[in-house]
């Protein structure tokens, strides 16, 4: 392993290996950069833009931008923290996120990122979109009101489950999830409850039926830990032990 190459991250020198993104290098160095569309196991997507960092003065998505020798990366600056809060607020107003009535509350990454960034209101006017619910599948329900278009379900279905149950369709503010069945209904797809795609949603858009309240509110993941800690504990396994880079 060649660990001689380094970048400077918020003033700290951290190593990276060829092929790693800035996000990979940060995670390996136990540094959290807020993100929602990224999971290290899947091809980076770079769409939520929460992981935007300043690389040599230029804004880049940490999850897709390659680490390169000599980069000066800024992440926890006042400006970036404020703007990440604004981007999170955009995700909130775009859909219908009613945390108190959502069974994902406490296990929801969108909510947890909101807490992490000290988001106290929605700031922007709400869109209140009229979006579809698909409850046709016996075990899985999808409420598109809570979808943030991260495409993790799309990627997990393709890259881990070997299927293509999900896709994102439409354009601009009208983007939405579609399901691979002639009827367009989830029940007619080959989605199974054990599929990774059924469990990867960072919000409450894809939920497993009849399991929502097994863990009471107050005892859920983000009720006890901040998302930065959870992310570094769970998502970096793959980087540290998974592949031999």
């Amino acid at each position: 392993m060649n660990m001689s190459k380094t970048i400077t991250f918020d003033g700290k020198v951290i190593p990276f290996e060829d092929g790693q993104t800035i996000m990979d290098a940060a995670m390996a160095a136990d540094i959290y950069i807020p993100h929602l569309c990224h999971q290290p196991e899947f091809t980076p997507h770079g769409s939520c833009k929460l992981c935007t960092v300043k690389v040599n003065g230029r804004n880049c998505s940490a999850c897709t931008f390659p680490a390169m020798e000599g980069q000066e990366v800024l992440s926890e600056t006042k400006e970036l923290i404020n703007d990440r809060r604004r981007i999170t607020q955009m995700l909130f107003v775009e859909g219908n996120h009613l945390c108190p009535g959502c069974e994902k509350s406490g296990n929801c990454q969108l909510q947890a990122v909101g807490y992490h960034l000290n988001m106290l209101d929605s700031h922007f006017p709400h869109f209140y979109p009229d979006r579809k619910v698909d409850a046709s599948h016996p075990d899985v329900m999808i409420d598109q009101s809570r979808c943030i278009l991260c495409t993790l379900c799309v990627r997990a279905s393709q890259q881990e489950d070997g299927k293509s149950v999900f896709a994102v369709s439409g354009r601009g503010i009208n983007k939405h999830l579609i399901f691979n069945a002639q009827s367009g209904l989830l029940k007619d797809t080959d989605l199974e409850t054990a599929d990774r795609a059924a469990h990867i949603c960072p919000t409450g858009a894809i939920i497993i039926k009849r399991t929502g309240y097994r863990v009471p509110i107050g005892q859920r993941v983000y009720d006890h830990k901040e998302i930065d800690q959870v992310s570094l504990e769970t998502e970096t396994e793959h980087l540290k032990h998974g592949e031999e880079i």
Partner: protein, 626 residues
Amino acid sequence: VKQFIQGIAANSRYQATHLLQILRQIQFRYHYIPQAAIEQLSTLLNIPRTQIISVAEFYSFLHLEPRGQYEFLISDSITDHMLGKKNLIGYLAKKLDVGVGEVREDGVVSLDNTSCTGMCDQGPAGLVNGYALTRLDHSAIDKIAELVNQQKPLNEWPAELFQVDDNIYKSGLLLNQQIEQGAALRSAFKRGINETLTEIDKSGLRGRGGAGFKTAMKWRFCSEEQQAEHYVVCNADEGEPGTFKDRVLLNSYADQVFEGMTVCAAIIGARQGLVYLRGEYLHLHDKLQRILEQRRQNGLLGNNILNTGLDFDIEIHLGAGAYICGEESALIESLEGKPGIPRNRPPYPVTHGYLGKPTVVNNVETFLAAAAIAVNGGDWFANIGTEKSKGTKILSISGDCARPGIYEYTFGVTVQTILDDCGAADVLGVQVGGPSGTFISNQELGRRLAFEDLATGGSIIIINSTRNILAVAQNFTHFFAHESCGFCTPCRVGTSLLKNQIDKIVEGHGASGDIVALEELCRLVKNYSHCGLGQTAANPIITTMERYLDLYEKQLKDISFEPGFDLDGALETARRLANRDDVGAHLAQTVATGSVPVATFLTSMDGGNADDCREQSWPPSQTGGE
């Protein structure tokens, strides 16, 4: 349906990369993409049906629900509005008895708006079943309505409805003399391929799409990639509102453009070239195919070109109504038959482009210039222009001037010179580079067109003092919200927030905090968006606000907060239910003191008389309760 689809799929050799081309043909034939077609294509092309649906739902010209046998789309460019578009579409709707955004009950006609169709010098313009309609007026619409009611096929419609003029008013280095067919290739091979690249380098030619990357450097990078396949792509997806010069180049100088692509192929080692022609220029498609065929017959395309051992051919792909496909990586995605969503970069197309192979993507004008340089040498081009901007730039000029059309200028020309040449008077400002570019005020007309000062892809829209600048910024902001691909949060959500925010201000509901909110939103969309669309989407507001902040402020109410909706209008249903209309059943929005009536805006663009207009999307109709 089955046979038809089997046929076109077979013609496309069952390649999924041709999906968009196949769907275009289905739309043209059936006026929508039937579900049966999706299922059949999924099997024939061996791709998930979701991929087909996502392509159909991405491009504005494709529909999953039936449109009329005559699909009318009317251009929503600001220049069309300046020419009275709003009244015309209202008239058209009335004559055809169909609402904007609707299909007539008998299924014969549908009508909608569309983004700029590239006919700004001969608008108001539109499309019928994809074919360009120009210079629409009441008498043309009367004629059209009659033809539709007689259900006359398009090929029996009078040609003048479809007549598209070049309108070249000023020629320079490039437009003055078209090179002879084959001359650039002969010169290039005679001089030597590497030496020709050196000449292009020496010419200082930079990409003409607007970004201005050095052409020779791009070609060299691509040629150095050790891959069996390389591709040459010509970006003819001229979607920037107010731009139409590529349409003219492809109408009258296509041979030279193809020759430029072939020279590029010789240099980078490509065997396949692709032209991505915007769907709005369907009328050019057959003509371009004929020119390609002629070049094949003359030994300038195909195998062993001019007996030099070079094998190269060019294929034309049509777009389907998506501005974002002008972004090179989105264009490549679209060429591969996918939704036009910009890729993450790096890697760049020169290393990983079409089908993941090294690819040069250049603008139509860049290939035109490269061919001329291959003939005349680098100095011929580099001798004129400015230090960082060599040669000439071909401009599309439209808006408030006597002679809208095509003008070629040596780089460094002042805006004032251009205005004098095209006959513009009483100028309030000039939109340079289209909505994504810069608005300059009449105090800045001494500025120069060059990469050092005002860089432009070629769109120049002149706005005189009878126009309302906020209405212009609003039109552009709506355009970007409509064209955002929706990939990244700041652009997907931000452009729609911008649209709602500027509407709120223009409609007279803005309060003092709303300008600050607008500025913040502009900054977020600009700084965090994934690609050039989002990064420039706030420019119309930013650049007009910098220059005419007072106009924005005049629109505000003198209070710190104003509800974003019409309070009294919201009570309308309750009033009806209660059968009341007394004073107590009404609510004042606020105690307003400083607002300007919105009617001023709505009428100033079209010269008044907005009442019979059924259009809903632009400009946003004032909410009820008046």
